[in-house]
């Protein structure tokens, strides 16, 4: 059976990628890639709610199996969700074809 993979994108404050990866690894993810980025929050909303959004961000890209997607997302949300210091946003995208991923040992 063909495995269906998804790409999990997590955007967190700078320095929190270790926490994200730790949570992801504990739930079966293998590895990820970090891309540094800068966020652009809505200044007015920030003032209104008294939240300061740090502009320095890290984007963590993780490819996981569709089956464990929910578990990984949940764990990442718990450790680095919006209401934590990491102020993370996570979402998934369906992946069509993959090349170069280590063949799963579970076969």
């Amino acid at each position: 059976m063909k495995q269906e993979m998804v790409l999990i994108v997590v955007i967190v404050n700078k320095g929190y990628n270790d926490l994200v990866m730790q949570a992801a690894r504990e739930n079966g993810a293998r590895g990820g890639t970090i891309v540094t980025a800068r966020g652009t929050g809505n200044e007015e909303t920030e003032k209104f709610y008294g939240v300061v959004i740090k502009p320095d961000k890290e984007m963590v890209l993780i490819i996981v199996d569709n089956i464990i997607k929910d578990k990984v997302l949940e764990a990442v949300g718990k450790t680095c969700g919006l209401n934590t210091k990491g102020q993370g946003i996570a979402f998934t995208l369906p992946v069509c074809d993959t090349v170069g991923l280590a063949e799963e040992d579970t076969k």
């Binding site: 995208l93 074809d97 090349v99």
Partner: protein
């Protein structure tokens, strides 16, 4: 006279949505993640296949920082993002497959994501290299 006629013709042909009148070729977003300095190869070889636009960026691997400290290595990565016609995706992935076999250093991963929409007909034609529109 001729000019006037042409203008009228253009105006008639410009009614209706592009996607309703012409054959569309879907796009996919191809992302390749490889070790540092390996990205240029992909940008160049995708260009030869007929990919109009590739974008290369810098990234980091996620080996835990303790291990990295012990080994004294920074695992820097190149991330190549390109928009590819669905018909070209196969040949691009073949290029990746061949390249990943070359050596341990050249190993990496590649995957594609469906592109939902593109803004502007000109951009669509640029990305898919559509020189002549084909009517449905």
């Amino acid at each position: 006279m001729n000019n006037k006629k042409r203008i009228e013709k253009d105006q008639v042909s410009k009614t209706g949505l592009y996607e309703d009148r012409f054959v569309l070729r879907p796009l996919k977003c191809l992302i390749v993640i490889v070790n540092e300095h390996q990205g240029d190869f992909f940008v160049n070889s995708f260009k030869d296949v007929g990919v109009s636009c590739s974008f290369s960026s810098y990234g980091k691997g996620t080996a835990s920082s303790d291990i990295r400290h012990i080994l004294g290595v920074e695992d820097k990565k190149d991330l190549v993002l390109s928009l590819v016609k669905e018909s070209d995706v196969g040949s691009c992935l073949d290029i990746c497959r061949e390249r990943f076999k070359v050596s341990q250093e050249a190993k990496g991963i590649a995957f594609t994501i469906k592109v939902d929409s593109v803004v502007g007909v000109m951009l669509y034609r640029f990305l898919t290299d559509t020189k002549q529109n084909r009517r449905k």
